[in-house]
Symmetry: C2
């Protein structure tokens, strides 16, 4: 019934062979970055227990959930307490009330027509960005921009794909553009970008879309930071750009939009018209294949979490989350202004909670990390941890406390470079 | 930094090739089972709108969450409402308070020593059972018992592995035992079994462990229904059996234990001593590899859900969930007693919420489905949907309402076979 089982032939030592690991894991770089940061900070605070260390390194939010979200989650929990309102298995793609709220958000905010039946609700954009590789052939070639969010790279190393890199550098404002001589099948774009804070304009995305369509590639578009966009010519969704529905999947998350890092909810949009080829050169629906993947390996998102997520998209919820977003945006501005004063090159800071700065005096990423930690007691993230083009750069985040952010900035200004 | 990118060589039509799908998806059997059931029920109720159809088909719970769980979830939500108690990204493997609660549960209930650092908390056993295949080589051979929970088969079809079947039949009480002439690397066992309700004794599991160790295979042990076990010689965990820690991963879920199908929480135990080989024939830690997989493709479980899950393992929580379990167990007994009266062969019913019965008069699974639907207005699940050995058998579940279960049983008793 479920595929044709057959007996394996044994030759020589095959008989005593052991369950084998997926050896692609050995090609992963050990995740030294955050471990190394933690170690250095730990060593420093041990040696200087009195130091008031301010952490602007990690991309995690600090403000509480919006009241409308809290209320909706409580209501969801209460429904699970009564037989009449109890909820069992959720739909694989999420409750319709949430998928509809997301589709309405796209219409209202971005003037983009998405059907609730093109939305998949999940436990986070990272899960979807990671798991999406299941539906693609392992011989597809992957293109990522460098510096890069490691999940795009590591998930494809695990599944054994070739990876090409498009350089994000000072020359292009840390927003890599396509090079037509490079051929790829799957293209990861993140805008506003983690870690560089750069955001693609409509025109730039249009160029990526033309490039993708020219070679029948699929764009995997990570819009996790879209809520930080303030400028008009920066699309919040790739579907604001013509042609995107025929070549792009969009991932988004409530983690940064609404402080859901600990609550866990994201969503993925797959337009029904998006196709990929099977090996017989026939068009196959990407939506249908992902649905089958999710139905096989996933069982939907917790009901109270979906209730809270839907509240984010209510009128009240939108008003409340915007207050939190403004708080982080103001933090970003405080950091950016200080760098302006110091004459330090950076990208991000607007349209993004990340500030990606050039280490002064051509310092290396880790050298600058140590200087900042030792002399200003401020923790950031060395750019070198995000790829070869990150060396000599450094990421600060706007997710901290206002007073601490101000204090960190004053300390940085007092540094001698 | 993240693997060596290189340019792909193009030959002929390669230049215009499109993103290719993972063609293994084409080897999946379309999931007709529940869709076909829904269609037939729908057709029937349309034609007979007055009919009082009782559904004993789907394996979803119906009783509300325990009060201790509700209280803990509310408390967790409230913590997200305040800056001082707000929670950001959870640990990839779950909060320590929950991992410790699970380890204590194993000690108290099963007298099994598990470290909290051998526990991974997830959004459900289905996700873990499905995603675990990422860490294994695609050339491993998989052994499943037939009838089988489709997730074990489908996830391995998607990743292109060979699948062998061990027959569960009336002769072995629908609890397949190992055949030493068959070699496999990964062995899926589910006990108490979905769909057959059979449960392995300690002695039987010991035989499986010997078989697995004899060929250095890993057992993937699904204990999702362990809370339904009442008999002493049926282990609730495979780790109750000697040698299991060196050869088995255990998956478990709160879905059936505590009514978490809509709340979403499960866990996976990977003993630190469990090893697999890499291609250089070196031992590799299964725990470390799975940790890396989860860190790459998963971001942990919602905080309020983890709070609720921990409450399941509290003294109060255990008392409360046992009331619900007793309710379902009594339903199972009601169904089993009726089959005893009718002289119909079945497995399960004790140690399991499933009753797997032989269709009377050698009816086929779907033939019996139609008879039950049309003549008794009772919906069950045709065994044929679970593999070739399921043809001629039928699954009923104990998760329904008591009065409706009684009524369904009375209707079945009145049927003429």
């Amino acid at each position: 019934m479920y595929g044709n089982g057959y007996y394996i032939k044994f030759t020589g030592k095959g008989i005593n062979k052991m369950a084998l690991m997926n050896d692609n894991f050995n090609n992963l770089v050990a995740n030294y970055l955050f471990a190394e940061i933690a170690k250095r900070v730990n060593d420093y605070t041990k040696a200087h227990p009195e130091a008031d260390v301010i952490r602007l390194g990690i991309g995690d939010v600090t403000l509480p959930l919006a009241p409308a979200v809290i209320e909706a989650m409580h209501k969801g929990v209460d429904e699970l307490a009564n037989k009449e309102t109890f909820k069992g298995y959720p739909d694989y793609d999420g409750y319709e009330f949430l998928r509809k709220a997301i589709a309405d958000y796209y219409k209202t905010k971005n003037n983009v027509d998405i059907s609730p039946n093109e939305v998949f609700v999940s436990d986070g954009a990272k899960s979807d960005c990671g798991n999406i590789v299941d539906i693609f052939d392992k011989d597809n070639t992957v293109l990522v921009t460098d510096p890069v969010y490691p999940v795009y790279v590591d998930t494809n190393i695990i599944s054994g794909r070739k990876i090409l890199y498009a350089d994000s550098t000072e020359e292009n404002g840390f927003a890599a553009m396509p090079n037509k001589s490079i051929k790829a099948d799957l293209i990861y774009l993140c805008s506003p970008n983690n870690p560089t804070g750069s955001a693609y304009t409509k025109e730039q995305l249009s160029e990526w879309i033309k490039y993708a369509k020219g070679q029948n590639a699929i764009i995997l578009y990570d819009a996790a930071y879209e809520a930080f966009i303030t400028e008009d010519d920066i699309p919040c969704s790739i579907y604001e750009v013509e042609g995107a529905k025929e070549c792009a999947i969009e991932f988004c998350s409530l983690s940064k939009t609404a402080g859901f890092t600990g609550t866990r909810c994201g969503y993925t949009i797959i337009p029904k018209e998006l196709k990929m080829k099977n090996k017989s050169d026939e068009d196959v629906s990407v939506y249908d294949t992902w649905y089958r993947r999710q139905a096989t390996k996933f069982n939907g998102v917790s009901y109270p979490v979906q209730c809270g997520a839907a509240a984010v998209f209510s009128e009240e919820g939108q008003k409340q989350i915007k207050e939190n977003l403004s708080y982080y945006q103001e933090n970003a501005k405080i950091i950016a202004n200080a760098l302006d004063e110091l004459g330090i090159y950076y990208t991000g800071g607007k349209n993004s909670p990340y500030i990606w700065l050039k280490c002064p005096n051509n310092m290396g990423s880790w050298e600058f990390f140590d200087k900042l930690l030792n002399e200003a007691n401020v923790v950031g993230t060395p750019g070198a941890g995000f790829g070869k083009n990150g060396e000599g750069y450094f990421r600060l985040t706007a997710f901290g406390d206002r007073e601490k952010t101000k204090e960190a900035v004053e300390r940085i200004k007092r540094l001698k470079f």
